[in-house]
């Protein structure tokens, strides 16, 4: 194991050069098995880079091994109770390993003090592995996984291009491509476009994102520490407010550009994760454009299991109560992002936004009917206003996502209100 485990960075020159070199020889290998072997070596190398010690490897082995075995069992014996029990166990293990504050009163003090557990076991990408594991298990239990092998499953979970932060690929899609690993860049134009995407990703993540991060970081620290007020606050606050979302978008979308392009060099298509998110007209629309694969996962494995039974039992009432499940699903998804209160607040705000969007849509349908809704949505003025409103709502929620102390974020919001209205909250 690597005692000086690093945070693996896909925008570094070494990574890009290694990808291009490996891609150049990849399809010269005469057999699919050899290509898989080369890919698996890459996965192992990255694992060695990011895993700090043997106990982390042991825990990861149990996590993946038990998931694989359970998937095999569930394919043969699709028991809902077994599935629910194992997922509950998995989630508890995840909460413990990530040391969520909510478990402080359950865990022995020795593990909490000085983050002992975090030093003992640290698995990069565990959050995404959890998502993939739950997806495989649910699909296996529902007869949607035609074949599963340990070789394919482990490489799916440890895919070096998606281990850090997704995108969350479906196992079935991975396995289908893994079995053949044919070139997907059919002509020089495709190849050139892919190289360009790689370059665009590097520019976003290594040039633009740090610029905005630096501006945001310096200003928000000085704003909060000096407790700036008045006109100076009104000048500096918008920079803090808008710079972080730009940084986050460039950083994450750039990362996705790089890993999707890199994967394509090796004959694998990863799902897209961004589709002009700042043009979303409400929170629900936003999550079909921003971190798309997470949005789909939330819909399929959090929202649907809560909403579908409701429709089955009370079909007429279900739609008007859907906002409750949207709220719950987003709170859980928010908490998944991290173990601090910031992410819980972020999730709750997203949930609130999604619920309001759904309630508002239902109100329009009730007043004007579905055709009325269609006409309403077609209006360019409504569209412009909705995009503007949603953009600012997302910037607001990201103030909590940015890991700024919740009290400081609240202070900034109160400051904005006071500076713009003259009233103190």
């Amino acid at each position: 194991m690597n005692p000086s485990a690093i945070d693996f960075n896909v925008s570094e020159v070494e990574f890009i050069v290694a990808v291009l070199l490996a891609a150049a020889i990849f399809f010269w290998l005469p057999a699919v098995r050899l290509r898989q072997l080369l890919w698996a070596c890459g996965n192992l190398f990255v694992l060695w880079l990011v895993l700090p010690n043997t106990q982390s490897l042991a825990v990861l082995a149990v996590f993946l091994g038990s998931g694989y075995l359970m998937a095999r069992v569930l394919r043969i014996w699709p028991s809902g109770w077994l599935l629910a029990s194992y997922i509950a166990l998995l989630v508890v293990a995840f909460l413990v390993l990530k040391q969520y504050a909510v478990l402080d009163w359950v865990l022995p003090r020795i593990l909490i003090r000085d983050n002992v557990l975090l030093h003992l076991v640290r698995i990069t990408g565990l959050s995404y592995m959890l998502f993939r594991q739950i997806h495989v298990l649910v699909d296996a239990a529902q007869g949607q996984v035609a074949r599963i092998s340990f070789w394919s499953y482990v490489n799916y979970q440890l895919n070096l291009f998606a281990i850090l932060a997704g995108p969350i690929q479906r196992y079935q899609d991975f396995d289908e491509q893994w079995q053949t690993l044919q070139p997907v860049l059919a002509n020089p134009d495709d190849l050139l476009r892919n190289c360009l995407r790689l370059l665009v990703g590097v520019v976003k993540i290594a040039l633009i994102a740090p610029l905005f991060y630096k501006g945001w970081d310096e200003l928000q620290v000085s704003l909060v520490n000096a407790r700036v007020t008045g006109w100076k606050f009104l000048v500096e606050f918008p920079v803090v407010f808008y710079a972080y979302p730009v940084y986050l978008y460039c950083n994450f979308a750039g990362y996705c550009d790089i890993v999707i392009a890199a994967n394509r060099f090796f004959g694998m298509k990863l799902p897209e994760n961004f589709n002009r998110p700042w043009l979303a007209r409400n929170v629900l629309d936003f999550w079909t454009r921003w971190h798309i694969t997470l949005g789909l996962w939330i819909r399929d494995y959090l929202f649907m299991p809560m909403y579908k039974p409701m429709v089955e039992r009370w079909p007429k009432r279900a739609q008007s109560l859907a906002w409750i499940f949207y709220f719950l699903a987003f709170v859980v998804a928010g908490a998944w992002h991290g173990s601090t209160a910031n992410f819980l607040i972020y999730g709750a705000m997203q949930g609130l936004g999604a619920s309001v969007a759904k309630i508002y849509e239902n109100a329009i349908i009730a007043a004007r009917g579905r055709n009325g809704l269609k006409t309403y949505l077609k209006s360019s003025k409504v569209r412009f206003a909705a995009i503007l409103l949603n953009f600012h709502f997302q910037c607001l929620t990201l103030m909590f996502f940015s890991q700024v102390d919740c009290r400081d974020a609240w202070w900034m919001l109160r400051g904005l209100f006071a500076a713009s209205t003259g009233y103190k909250v």
Binding site: Q144, D300, Q319
Partner: protein
């Protein structure tokens, strides 16, 4: 018109509250007002009840993906009915 198509058409009309819907294979969610993620689940549940079949999460999700349309949806129903009979 086949029986499956006719029954599915009735389900569509009920779920989307539109008695004028006429199903054709090329139709997608964009062609029917109100076919969003939520009504998609309503549609799937109503279809399950009508045909006494069960859709898996992955199947429900896939039906909303690009390249899917009413034709592929009817084909899936047909496949499930063939399995149960």
């Amino acid at each position: 018109m086949s029986d499956v198509r006719m029954q599915a058409q009735e389900v569509f009309r009920q779920v989307f509250d539109d008695p004028e819907i006429v199903l054709c294979d090329e139709m997608t969610a964009d062609d029917i007002p109100g076919w969003d993620s939520l009504t998609h689940i309503n549609l799937m549940v109503a279809t399950e009840k009508r045909f006494k079949i069960k859709f898996a999460t992955a199947e429900i999700s896939k039906m909303k993906e690009e390249g899917q349309n009413v034709g592929t949806f009817l084909a899936l129903i047909g496949k499930k009915l063939a399995r149960t009979s």
